[in-house]
């Protein structure tokens, strides 16, 4: 080859506790090229991008920029070298103006000890930067929180260009954009290409990849699964590369249950931040209803609406046929609907407190006397003993602080604290995220056991193995709507991915 690629990644590996996030990944990017990086949730896309942006350090492997080996101690160094990450959650100071954001941390200043800001330079240089992304300079004084998501995205790109970025990493850039804003973004990308700026485009919206990528690489389980040139980028080809692996054998071999009567019935639900069309579905006694979809497809929001955290604008919730009022988690719990939330450190547990404190918290009514609601220590101790044993939570004692336990044991505590309340409906949001393999198997066994006792289980998961392993029936969400239902017999990874990426149901 005569010309060296602008960016070359060679044999990069990255390990996190319990997971190999990246294994021996290599790729190259030329100047002015748009390279799409595709893969399922957890395939390693984000890890790779974070390594390139200097947020993580690789355990092994090299990165070359124009043939020169580079290592980044932090994002500042990556930026210096010309690599800018446009975050999924935008990284602008919302209360500052567009102009202030464009030059944050490197404001043009007058000479002298006071470093007074040169407003005129900000004005002229800011206008030029905005022009590059097709925005009007009249936006300069506007506070960022008054911009639309699309405008914010473009401002972030302009800021990166102001730092002489040669490579832009866009992580799900269209996730919060409207169609016109998305089109606008493509125009900007085309213009950047003509200026020899390269783009690493991360997305699991395959239609977008078909539309704008010059080349696509597919990651699967942290490895490079394949590469497609421009003319070979097609929906079915991408899905074929994204899926296709063997299921590990740690799922309980329990026969899939015949579903009982409907326990949870959701009728015409509309909620804040949800889709315009109403959502309806049922979960039956004894079944594990899997809910699949890509990150950001609105599954967690739906669960929050049912659990009383998100405001609902219309629709009914019935538990065992009876309509229930759920305006807050307290009422949901009273109706027998329990949630194991997605973010256990934020919502599921009080990590600074002890195991016992957490196990007792939702059960204090039954653990205390009517008089002054005094907690009875004997009742508390026996509950702790029972739950710790039942879920084989590995902790030296109930007095141990939760934050000192492993992710798997923490998750078992979130399950355990609901157990004594006798759940009728259990909503599991990513029940094994950040959980080691051993604890995963135990949690799966436990989910199946609860189902066999007649609990209706609604399991939201982005883990394909988990979905195929224990779901009795699967609903797939796409952009806030239910895109389709798959029975156990029709369930396959290809079928799920097709529905989840907006493809037609077969």
């Amino acid at each position: 080859m005569l010309t060296l690629p602008l960016l070359a990644v060679s044999g990069v590996c990255k390990q996190f506790p319990g997971v190999k996030a990246l294994e021996n990944v290599s790729l190259a990017l030329s100047a002015g090229e748009v390279l799409a990086v595709v893969g399922e949730n957890g395939a390693g896309k984000s890890t790779l991008m974070k390594i390139l942006a200097g947020l993580y350090r690789p355990d092994a492997g090299e990165i070359y920029l124009s043939g020169q080996r580079v290592t980044f101690a932090g994002p500042a160094e990556a930026m210096q070298a010309g690599i800018s990450l446009i975050h999924q959650e935008l990284n602008l100071a919302e209360n500052l103006s567009v102009a202030d954001n464009l030059f944050l941390g490197r404001e043009p200043c007058f000479a002298g000890p006071l470093r007074l800001i040169n407003r005129r330079a900000i004005q002229t240089r800011g206008a030029a930067l905005l022009a590059q992304v097709g925005l009007n300079s009249s936006l300069l004084p506007r506070p960022v929180h008054r911009l639309s998501p699309g405008q914010k995205q473009l401002v972030e790109i302009a800021r990166a260009l102001g730092q002489d970025a040669k490579i832009l990493i866009m992580d799900e850039p269209t996730s919060s954009l409207t169609q016109t804003e998305t089109d606008r973004l493509y125009e900007v990308i085309a213009r950047l290409k003509s200026q020899q700026v390269s783009v690493l485009y991360i997305s699991h919206r395959l239609a977008e990849v078909e539309r704008c990528a010059d080349r696509a690489v597919v990651l699967r389980d942290g490895r490079l699964a394949g590469e497609l040139p421009r003319e070979a980028i097609r929906h079915d080809q991408l899905v074929r590369l994204m899926v296709g692996r063997e299921l590990q054998q740690f799922f309980p071999q329990a026969e899939h249950q015949q579903a009982g009567p409907a326990i949870l019935r959701i009728e015409n639900l509309r909620y804040a931040g949800g889709p315009a069309s109403a959502v309806s579905f049922t979960v039956h006694a004894g079944e594990v209803l899997g809910m699949a979809g890509l990150v950001g497809s609105g599954r967690t929001e739906l669960a929050e609406a049912v659990f009383g955290i998100r405001k609902r604008s219309s629709g009914n919730i019935r538990v065992a046929g009876k309509p229930v009022t759920v305006r807050n988690p307290r009422e949901a719990i009273r109706a027998g609907i329990f949630l194991v939330p997605e973010d256990r450190r934020l919502h599921g547990l009080i990590t600074a407190a002890s195991v016992g404190f957490n196990l007792s918290l939702p059960n204090l009514t039954s653990l205390s006397r009517t008089f002054l609601r005094l907690v009875v220590p004997q009742r508390e101790r026996s509950l702790h003993r029972l739950l710790i044993q039942r879920l084989s939570i590995k902790t030296p004692s109930a007095r141990q602080a939760v934050r000192l336990l492993s992710g798997g044991n923490q998750q078992k505590i979130v399950f355990a604290k609901w157990l004594a309340r006798g759940p009728r409906v259990l909503i599991l949001d990513e029940p094994t995220r950040g959980v080691d393999v051993g604890a995963k198997a135990e949690i799966y066994r436990f989910i199946k056991e609860l189902a066999s006792q007649g609990v209706a289980i609604w399991m939201i998961t982005s883990d394909m193995e988990e979905l195929l392993g224990i779901a009795d029936r699967v609903l797939v969400m796409h952009e806030g709507k239910l895109a389709g239902e798959l029975s156990r017999a029709a369930l396959s990874e290809v079928a799920v991915m097709t529905l989840a990426t907006g493809g037609a149901s077969t």
Partner: protein
């Protein structure tokens, strides 16, 4: 427990120093007086302490003390029987706490902001109320003028003074009643905070309000309850202040009491981040301020330096605690 041991050492050290600095002057009267001072600030610190445990703060305490003391006096001056007047003031304290709690929970305002506004409003109210029925707009409220204006109340007033302060009609202090009332309050709060479901909810809210909500805790109700407890402590403090000192200046008395109350709670182990603190710790922490005051008098240090000593004690105590915490988390 580590924290309790630290505060206990500080309390023992300070009182030991106090005794040794002037054994001759350290008589029974001084001890009773010290206990009463401790009792007074303890009531305020305990009230705000449970609020701090839930992650809240109350900057209005000093002004509520002033407003309560002044209202209590003015009501009696207007001929309201002392016990009725005290009940009205206590009810007022509950109402103030409810307002704070509602503004924070339903109004979505920050506790710091709500009670900062309260600090100004109640001070202004105290000064305005003090002039009711008088020729001047602002008037020092004293037991002496009340006795003249409403002689029929004198007996009940003396009784209240004996019961809540421990002072006889001659002004002599015999039994530290403020301290005993504070002990009673501490015992009641200890049972609730450390023994009941409510106490668990308060800690849970302080540690992680979201997780408490997701666990089905009625966060709104409990946040309001602790605001009421804090204002209730301040209202009781106001009644005691007037009975003890016999005269209250609406413009200045009670000033900075909120900061002294918070200081007592924080030295005692309450974290301003919420979730941490014990009744025993607050009890011990509020013993430190009276000791510092008395020590300065015994050592003949001008009382102008007292604020410096208090500030540095808090800083060093908090710094030491943080240092110990970091060291233990590293191992």
């Amino acid at each position: 427990m580590n924290r309790i041991a630290g505060v206990l050492a500080l309390v023992v050290g300070l009182y030991g120093w106090l005794y040794l600095s002037n054994p001759a002057q350290f008589n029974l009267y001084v001890v009773v007086d010290l206990l009463n001072r401790h009792g007074f600030f303890g009531i305020l610190s305990l009230g705000v302490g449970v609020l701090i445990i839930t992650g809240g703060i109350d900057l209005s305490i000093g002004s509520v003390v002033a407003l309560s003391a002044v209202s209590f006096g003015v009501l009696m001056r207007q001929g309201v029987p002392p016990i009725v007047a005290a009940s009205i003031v206590i009810t007022g304290g509950i109402v103030i706490g409810l307002i704070h709690g509602l503004l924070v929970t339903w109004g979505g305002l920050q506790p710091f902001l709500v009670t900062l506004c309260g600090l100004f409003v109640y001070r202004g109210l105290a000064r305005t109320v003090s002039g009711i029925g008088e020729k001047t707009a602002e008037q020092t409220v004293s037991l002496y003028t009340i006795r003249n204006a409403a002689p029929e109340s004198a007996g009940a007033m003396d009784w209240l003074r004996a019961v809540f302060v421990g002072k006889g009609s001659d002004g002599g202090l015999t039994i530290p009643m403020e301290f005993l009332w504070m002990l009673g309050l501490a015992a009641a709060l200890a049972v609730i905070l450390h023994g009941s479901a409510y106490g668990r909810y308060w800690y849970a809210i302080g540690y992680n309000e979201q997780a408490a909500r997701y666990s089905g805790v009625n966060v709104t109700r409990h946040r309001i309850i602790v605001f009421v407890i804090s204002s209730l402590g301040a209202a009781a403090g106001g009644i005691i202040l007037l009975l003890d000192f016999a005269s209250v200046d609406p413009a200045s008395d009670g000033g900075e009491f909120e900061l002294l109350a918070i200081t007592g709670a924080v030295i005692g182990g309450c974290s301003l981040r919420g979730g941490e603190g014990t009744v025993l710790g607050i009890f011990l922490g509020s013993a430190i301020l009276p000791a510092i005051n008395k020590l300065n008098i015994f050592l003949g240090v001008p009382n102008t330096v007292i604020p410096i000593v208090i500030g540095l004690t808090l800083l060093i105590g908090a710094g030491l605690d943080e240092w110990l915490r970091r060291r233990s988390s590293r191992n």
